[in-house]
Amino acid sequence: MTTNTEIMTKPAAHTWWWYSLLLLATIGILTIYHEVLDVYEVSILIFTAVSMALVGNQWPGFRGHSIAVAVLSLMALQLYGSELGAAETNGLLKYMLASQSAIMWMSVFFIAATFTYFGGLIFRSAYTEKVGSAFTWIATTFGMTGLMVRWRETHMMGADIGYIPVSNLYEVFILFAVVTALLYLFYERRYQVRSLGGFVLLVISAAVIFQLWYAFERNAHEIQPLVPALQSYWMKIHVPANFIGYGAFAMAAMIGIAYLLVSWRAAKNPDSGVVKAMPPLMMMDDLMYKSIALGFAFFTVATILGALWAAEAWGGYWSWDPKETWALIVWLNYAAWLHMRMTKGWNGVPMAWWAIVGLFVTLFAFLGVNMFLSGLHSYGSL
């Protein structure tokens, strides 16, 4: 945890190697790809490196995760060479590193982590909960590696096909699982509580199961080239910012469920096992607020980025398109939540319920709009 005193004192040793590593990676990427990157993409790259530097400086787990993803992805790239068919012939790719395989491992570990966390909670085993954390880290690493490798795979499909894999519903579901897990892991370390893991992993597992169904039933995992409207650098920032928002809102809702469960048990029997095993209500309330604040900040950024992109692609920064309008509805809803909490001082049960309702509103904005309403933003349709 960084406090003001730490900032004043000499930077820790890890800071130096972490910064140097990121600097090297950035220079490396710029050297190799400078011909194909435009000024916006270079800016996004530098922005990403700076963000990673700041996050990683405070969070050792993130450093390890990033390095593992980088090593695994580079291995996959090495094994692939320029032959997409290597995914079938090379054992390591076929069973572990090709994007489909990595994503499969991600799915397995997320679902395993859900059971492990709940097992740890039920049997009060701190060790089991630690295993749950480890599984979540492994799943997140596989998920991120899967996305990175898929990015390369899109480029191997054909000269002009390559794109960042956040363009359709299948890809963003993986992004959602990974981002939500990372957000959770961050707070897990910060608050030193693992008992919320199962609850948060529940929503991630739901996303994973949907993603598996989508791949098996609809072949959604197959790489399709981008429609012209999506060929823009904006996608690289608009979509991830949005999913930090969605992930944080989802986490808040799951903590809301845990909150309601604990407060319900506590009202019946303050000494019940569940109440003791779970974090104090105050802390959950605080976490819920932190997640929604984080989600709100990023969702605001994402919606504004969306408006900037819309101005370039659709001819106006705001068209009252169903997706835009539902983004506004989500934003208004959480704006009202935050006002109630920050100035009216509401907390506890009603705010937990509201956070859960918020998730349904968010879910409709994310999925429902694409499924039931027509509009300009029809890229993620089922």
Partner: protein
């Protein structure tokens, strides 16, 4: 937006109370949630559709009700704008009310606190130091400075010194930024909205045009001159043509907006990925403007608009721009003669055709040079192939009824045989039903048409019926003239019925005219006779010999018969075959002028900065009360934070151990 005031409302004047109500938190939250719910309407009910569609959907009564409520363009409806305006006013009042307090909070160090209240604070610690009063005060102030706190010393009663310190005052700026941003964004958005148009319409200065007129016929009251107002409209310009106007859609009509320059379209291109998906849409434009020394050339694409003189020109859509088409009209029945007739036409042209006795209006709607569609012979719908050029047209009878057709230029293969495809439907809501016309060995429709002409050749049919009748009755011991006559007539009638209405009509005849008792026995016999007749007529053609007939020829007969059998439902006396075309495309441009855009973007920047300041820059305050005790110097440290209490706990705990160590020979008092 803020907490409601504690003062009793009765003591306040009405205006003051109104002011407080408008700036109140309750109203603000109510407005936020009302706006959210109201916004749902426009996403559930598709906006700005043709009004005729709404009438069909809701019926005349509800159509009127919904129109009165402005639900077809809900985001410019008066009541919706009113909610938005109220939100803006409420936010403004809130900002005005809190501005003085917030700026004070932002800068002012709280120097008028009491020793008692510091001791009572949640975060509070005490210790003693051997150093003298002023030394302790100075070193503490230095430490506060090192922690990033701004501080000030004040001398209190009994010569006590109070150090008031603060860090993160900009948090309050977060409040101001976010709330001012909402007002700025909405005001900027107002510039770019169609509110000025609504106002002008309300004053009667302009009138929405709902008729489909050519540009020069559009009356002046529906035209908007070049001005500073924002707009967003679209125009379709064929290759080689130019436009200096743009259409603004308004409810069920439009307005014509003049541009201060002329846009010429040189070329429009679509590129495809190897799998047939479109990869890019591009237009080569030339801007003609007196302000330019020479015309300016520019290429626009999706995501890459051209910005010229405050106008953004976007690639929005494309359509046919009046392609030239050469057609052969093949007669499908006797009304239209026997020989194909050539027609020269172009897309969007209507022309009167006289086919036999029937006068029909041929309306060309669209032409597409390629049709990349799922391959119907493959299971996987993602397996696409190019079905080649097609064109769409309507045939309108004199009574005004029209059927829509879609014809493909090249034959389509199915089960190893080739067919000309023509789709037909009665309303746009239906999907096309396809007619498959079999192609002969030369790749033409000649053979098919020859055969169908033979079916209408009464002398030939009669002759074949006669010989077939004789063969059938040859086994009878003696001639029965009545039976002969009746059979001959039946055979001829069967063919006539078939030509008129296909197998359906023959089946209707069997169902309605044969006695119930015999129907089951006779029906197969009738159909058998019809098939035999159809085959015999086929064998009467040149080059077809019943002895040497090939399987392909039999399949051709079967396809031909199937096809003729469905002609009655096709409804057109001719089949139009596309023989040549010159593709002329039209690019759909969206042109927008948004003078408020930069205001909105400025508001967005304020909002983002504000939100992050608000959530992630906590405002922390520290106080140190230093006074001379009996032997030593007594120090009371207290602190508070308006956000992130957990982090402040840790911070304060660190400081209450660190600071005593830095203030010389200190001893922390137990229990603090």
């Amino acid at each position: 937006m803020s907490e409601s005031t504690k003062k009793g409302p009765s003591s306040l004047s009405f205006t003051r109370r109104l002011f407080l109500f408008i700036g109140s938190m309750e109203l603000a939250i109510t407005l936020l949630l009302t706006l959210a719910v109201a916004s749902v309407i426009g996403t559930v009910l598709q906006q700005n559709q043709p009004y005729a569609d709404y009438v069909i959907k809701f019926g005349p009564f509800w159509f009127d009700v919904f129109e009165q409520l402005g639900l077809y363009d809900v985001y410019s409806a008066m009541w919706f704008i009113t909610i938005l305006a109220l939100l803006v006013i409420s936010t403004s009042v809130c900002v005005i009310r809190h501005f003085p307090a917030m700026t004070k909070e932002m800068w002012q160090l709280r120097t008028n606190v009491q020793k008692k209240s510091l001791k009572a604070m949640h975060h509070s610690a005490q210790w003693q130091s051997n150093d003298n009063l002023q030394t302790v005060a100075n070193s503490l102030q230095k430490e506060f400075k090192n922690l990033g706190f701004r501080s000030r010393q004040t001398v209190k009663q009994d010569d006590a010194i109070l150090i008031s310190a603060m860090r993160g005052g900009m948090n309050r700026l977060g409040y101001l930024f976010t709330h001012i941003a909402i007002v700025v964004i909405c005001v900027g958005g107002l510039f770019d909205s169609n509110m000025p148009l609504k106002l002008a319409e309300w004053r009667g200065d302009i009138k929405i045009e709902t008729r489909d007129l050519s540009i020069r016929d559009i009356p002046a009251e529906s035209r908007l001159g070049e001005g500073n107002q924002g707009f967003r409209g679209s125009v379709s310009i064929p290759e080689g043509k130019a436009s200096e106007v743009v259409f603004l859609p308004v409810r069920d009509g439009y307005l014509l907006q003049a541009l201060p320059f002329r846009i010429e379209v040189k070329d429009f291109r679509i590129e495809h990925y190897p799998n047939g998906q479109p990869k890019s849409f591009e237009s080569d434009l030339v801007i003609h403007d007196d302000e330019l020394d020479a015309p300016m050339e520019a290429t626009i694409a999706v995501n890459h608009p051209l910005i010229y003189r405050g106008h953004a020109i976007y690639q929005a859509s494309f359509s046919d721009g009046g392609s030239l088409l050469s057609l052969d009209a093949w007669p499908l029945d006797s009304r239209a003669g026997t020989e194909p007739v050539s027609i020269q036409t172009k897309v969007f042209e209507n022309r009167q055709m006289l086919w036999g006795e029937e006068s029909m209006q041929l309306e060309m709607i669209d032409f597409r040079p390629f049709n990349i569609n799922p391959d119907p012979t493959k299971e996987d719908t993602r397996n696409v192939r190019d079905f080649g050029p097609n064109f769409t047209f309507k045939l309108r009878t004199e009574t005004g009824e029209a059927r829509e057709y879609e014809n493909y230029m090249f034959p389509v293969e199915r089960d190893g045989r080739e067919y000309f495809l023509s789709g037909v439907r009665n309303t746009p809501a239906e999907s096309f039903a396809y007619l498959y016309l079999p192609v002969d060995e030369d790749g033409s429709l000649t053979r098919f048409l020859e055969y169908s002409a033979l079916l209408r050749d009464e002398a030939l049919v009669s002759g074949i019926a006669n010989s077939m009748m004789k063969e059938a009755l040859a086994m009878l011991p003696e001639r029965d003239e009545a039976l002969e006559g009746s059979l001959q007539q039946t055979l001829e009638t069967l063919i006539k019925m078939f030509v008129r209405g296909g197998f359906d009509e023959v089946r209707d005849f069997i169902d309605n005219n044969l006695p119930d008792a015999e129907r089951d026995n006779l029906a197969p016999a009738y159909l058998g006779m019809l098939r035999e007749m159809l085959a015999r007529i086929y064998f009467s053609m040149d080059g077809i010999d019943p002895q040497t007939v090939t399987n392909d020829q039999l399949l051709f007969l079967q396809d031909t018969v199937d096809s003729i059998g469905t002609l009655s439902r096709y409804g057109s006396p001719v089949f139009l075959q596309l023989t040549d075309f010159e593709h002329i495309q039209s690019t759909g441009l969206q042109i927008a002028k948004a003078p408020g855009k930069n205001v909105v973007y400025f508001g967005c920047a304020l909002l983002v900065i504000g939100v992050f300041l608000l959530f992630y820059l906590p405002q922390r305050r520290l106080w140190a009360w230093i006074e001379q005790g009996p032997e030593k110097t007594d120090i009371i440290l207290a602190g508070s934070s308006n956000r992130n209490a957990r982090e402040f706990d840790t911070f304060f705990n660190e400081q209450q151990t660190a600071l005593p160590a830095k203030t010389g020979n200190s001893r922390q008092l137990p229990g603090s």
